[in-house]
C-alpha cells in the first residue's frame, strides 16, 4: 500500500497506551485526515435511480449473501413501500436488512421513483473516525468493514453516521453488534467481484467499477442527455466523497437525500476540539503550577523570613 495508513501508524506508536501521548497523536492524525480523499484504486458503485423499478431483488440477494434472518414480509411483498416508521419516515436499514428500497411519489413524474439505501462506504467514514476501539476499517478496495470482536457497543458510530446507516442488534443480550452493509467485502469485493445486490439487479440500475471511473461515467451520462438528470452526482463530494454514488432525474432533496451535508468529511467538524488537546496537555501544567507559585508567594515569603 503506497498510502501511509494513519491508523496503523498511530496504533504502532501507541504501544505504551499513555493517555497523554495518545491524545497528542490523535490530533496529528486528524490534521492529516481532511485531505485523505480516498484510496486511489478504490471501487465504487454508480446507482442510476431513474432505472429502478422497485422489484426488491437486491434486498433478497443481500439477505441471502449475508445470511440474514428471514424478513417479516417476503421480498415479493410490495406493501413494504407503504410502511412508515416513527416520524412518518420510510423504511431504513436494520439489523435484519442491510439494504432497503423505498418508493417516492414525485409530483410531475409519470412513475414513482425508487431509491435503494445501504451503506455509502465513505472515503473518510464518520463511523470509523468516531470509533474508540478501531472496529472499522476502510479497505483499499473501498469497503468500510467492521470487526464485531472488539466492539464495545457504545454506538457512537450510529450517532456519527450522517446517512443513518449502522443498525445494532439490540435483541441480543450476550453479543449485540453493529449490523451494516460491508459491500460484500469478505465474499466478493476482496476477490474483485461486485456486491451481491449489484449483480442481482435485473434492471442494471447499478454499475460497479473503480470509483474514479464511476465519477467519469456519471458525468458522461449527465452530459449525454442534457435535462434527463439533475446536474449533480450525489456522493461525489458529500462528506468527503462516498464509494456509492447516485444519479437522479428529480432533485435529491425530494427523494430523502440529505443535501445539507457539505463537502467536508464529518471528522473536519471535530478538528476544532482536537486542536486544543495537545495545547492543554502541554501548556496547562506549567501555567497552573505557575499560578500556584504566584498565589502562594506571600505565604512562602513569610515562612522564609521567619526561618531566617
Amino acid at each position: 500500500m503506497k498510502k501511509l495508513n494513519r491508523r496503523n501508524f498511530i496504533k504502532g506508536s501507541l504501544a505504551g497506551g499513555l493517555a497523554a501521548a495518545a491524545t497528542c497523536n490523535a490530533k496529528d492524525a486528524k490534521a492529516a485526515g481532511g485531505d485523505f480523499g480516498g484510496y486511489p484504486d478504490s471501487m465504487g458503485v454508480l446507482v442510476d435511480l431513474t432505472k429502478c423499478v422497485g422489484c426488491r431483488t437486491c434486498e433478497a440477494a443481500c439477505n441471502k449473501e449475508q445470511g440474514l434472518p428471514e424478513p417479516d414480509k417476503p421480498f415479493d411483498d410490495f406493501s413494504v413501500f407503504d410502511e412508515r416508521r416513527e416520524g412518518g419516515l420510510p423504511r431504513r436499514t436494520t439489523e435484519k436488512a442491510y439494504t432497503v428500497v423505498n418508493r417516492y411519489e414525485v409530483e410531475g413524474r409519470a412513475h414513482p421513483l425508487f431509491r435503494k439505501v445501504q451503506c455509502n462506504h465513505c472515503n473518510e467514514p464518520a463511523c470509523l473516525t468516531s470509533c474508540f476501539v478501531n472496529a472499522y476499517t476502510k479497505t483499499p478496495e473501498g469497503a468500510v468493514i467492521y470487526n464485531p470482536k472488539v466492539c464495545v457497543g457504545c454506538r457512537t458510530c450510529m450517532i456519527a453516521c450522517p446517512f443513518y446507516v449502522p443498525a445494532y442488534s439490540y435483541s441480543s443480550a450476550i453479543n449485540p453488534v453493529v449490523k451494516k452493509c460491508i459491500m460484500c467485502y469478505d465474499t466478493r469485493l476482496k476477490f474483485g467481484r461486485p456486491p451481491a445486490c449489484v449483480e442481482a439487479c435485473p434492471q442494471g440500475v447499478m454499475t460497479f467499477g473503480k470509483r474514479k471511473d464511476m465519477i467519469a461515467l456519471a458525468h458522461e451520462k449527465i452530459n449525454a442527455k442534457p435535462g434527463k438528470y439533475v446536474g449533480h452526482v450525489y456522493g461525489e463530494t458529500e462528506v468527503g466523497g462516498t464509494s456509492w454514488m447516485y444519479l437522479s432525474d428529480v432533485p435529491f432533496a425530494e427523494i430523502g437525500f440529505d443535501t445539507h451535508l457539505g463537502k467536508e468529511p464529518i471528522i473536519s467538524h471535530v478538528k476544532d476540539f482536537l486542536a486544543i488537546v495537545p495545547m492543554v496537555l502541554c501548556i496547562w501544567p506549567a501555567l497552573f503550577t505557575g499560578f500556584h507559585l504566584l498565589a502562594t508567594r506571600k505565604q512562602t515569603n513569610k515562612e522564609n523570613s521567619t526561618k531566617a
Binding site: R6, R7, I10, K11, G17, A19, A22, T23, A26, A29, K30, E86, G87, G88, L89, R92, T93, T94, T129, S130, F132, V133, N134, A135, N147, V150, C151, V152, G153, C154, R155, T156, M158, I159, A160, P162, Y164, P166, Y170, S171, S172, A173, P176, V177, D258, I266, H269, V270, D272, F273, L274, I276, V277, V280, L281, W284, P285, F288, H292, A295
Partner: protein
Amino acid sequence: MEKLKTAGFQPIDTLIKPDTNNPWSLKDKLLLGLSPQEYMRQLLRNPFNWILAVIYAIGIPILVGRFIFGLGWATHSSYDYPWGLFLGWGLFVMVPLSASGFMLGTTVELFGRKDFKPIERLGLLNGLLGYFFAVVFLQVDLGQPWRLVYPMFVSLGPAAVLFLVAWHVATYLSVQVAELVPAASELMGWVKPKKFIKSIVLGLTVSGIILSTLHQGALGALFTYAPGKVHPLWYSAAFQWFHFFCSSIFGGLSMLIAVSTLSKWFLKWRCDNNFLKNLDTITLGIAKGCSLALITYLVIKFVALAHDNEWGYLLTGWGQLYIFEITAGVIFPLFLFTMAIRTNRAGLARLAAFIAVFGIALNRLNTALITFNWNLYQEIPHWREFAIAVMVYATYIVVYRAVLYRLPILYTWQGDSK
C-alpha cells in the same frame, strides 16, 4: 439521627473511644458507634429509606431483565436514537455536575484559598461519586459492558474523541480516589498514605485540571460528530467543547452548593461547627465563581450564535426552547447569584444553585436527546429506561449518603492522624 443526638449520642469522630482507652473497632466505625439494633432502628425510621425501597423493588428486576433480555427489552432499541437516557442523563448530565472536584481542588490546593477548606472534601467526593456513577450508567448502556477495557488495552482507536473521554475519565477517577485517600486514612488511622498524598497533592490537582478541561470539553465535542443531527442552536463546531467545559464550571459549583445545602438540612448531625459556621460565607464565595462562569458561558453562547449566524432559528419553535433554556437556566440564576452576593444572602445563592443545576441538566438533555434528530422525530425513552435510570441514580444517593455518614467529609477528624 437528630433524635439520637439529643439523647446524647455522639457520632464517631476520633480513633479512641471517649471515656475508655480502647480504639473504635471497624464495626463501630461502620455502624457510627451505634449498636446493630439501634442502627437498624434509625434506618427504618427514616422515611427516605422507604421511598428507596420502592425504587429498588421496581428497579432491580428491570435492571436484571436488561442484562438477561438485552437492551432491546429495556429500551426502544432505536437505530435513530442510539443514545437514550442512560447516557443523556447518566453521562452528559452527571459529569458536568461533578466538576466540583477539580474546581475545589484548584481553589484550595492550587490557589491556596484555605478559607474553602471546610467544603473541599465535599467537592472532591461529589466529583468522585458523580464520575463513578457516570461509569455505572455507561456500563448499563454499553452493548457489551464486559469489554469496557478494550479501548485501553485490546484495540485502540486513539483518533476518536470517545477514546480521550474513556482514558481521561479512567485516569481522573484514580486521581479523585487518591485525593480522598486522606479522608479514609483518618477514619482508618493510617498515617503514611495521607502523608504521601499530601506530598503529591499539587501534581494531582494540576492533572485534575488538565483531565477535566479535556474530557468535559470532549463530551461536547462528541456531538460535533453529528453536525446535521444536533439542532444548530445547540451545535457549534468551534465552541461546542468550550460550551460544555465552561458550563461544567458553574454546573459543578452549583451542584456543590446544592449538596452542601442538602447536607445542612438532612445531615446536620454529621456536620461539625467548622462546616456549619463557615458554610454561608463559603456558599457566597462559590456563588462568585458561579456567576463568573455563567456570564462567560452566556457570552460565548451568543458568540457561537453570531459565529454561525443562527439568529433566524431563534424565531422557530426550537428557538423558544433555546430561549427558555438560556433565560431560565442561565440568565435567571446569574441574576440571583449576583443579587445574593450583593445583598449577602446565602439562601438566595442556594436557590440560584438549584436552578443552575436544572439549567445544566436541561442543556445536556436538549443537546443529547430532545433536539437530537430535530429533522426526524422526537423520541420519548421507554418506561423501563426511566425505571433503571431512577434506580441507578438512587444508588448514587445511597452511596453518597453512606460515605457522608462515615468519612470525615462534613466534619473534621479529631484524631492523632496528622
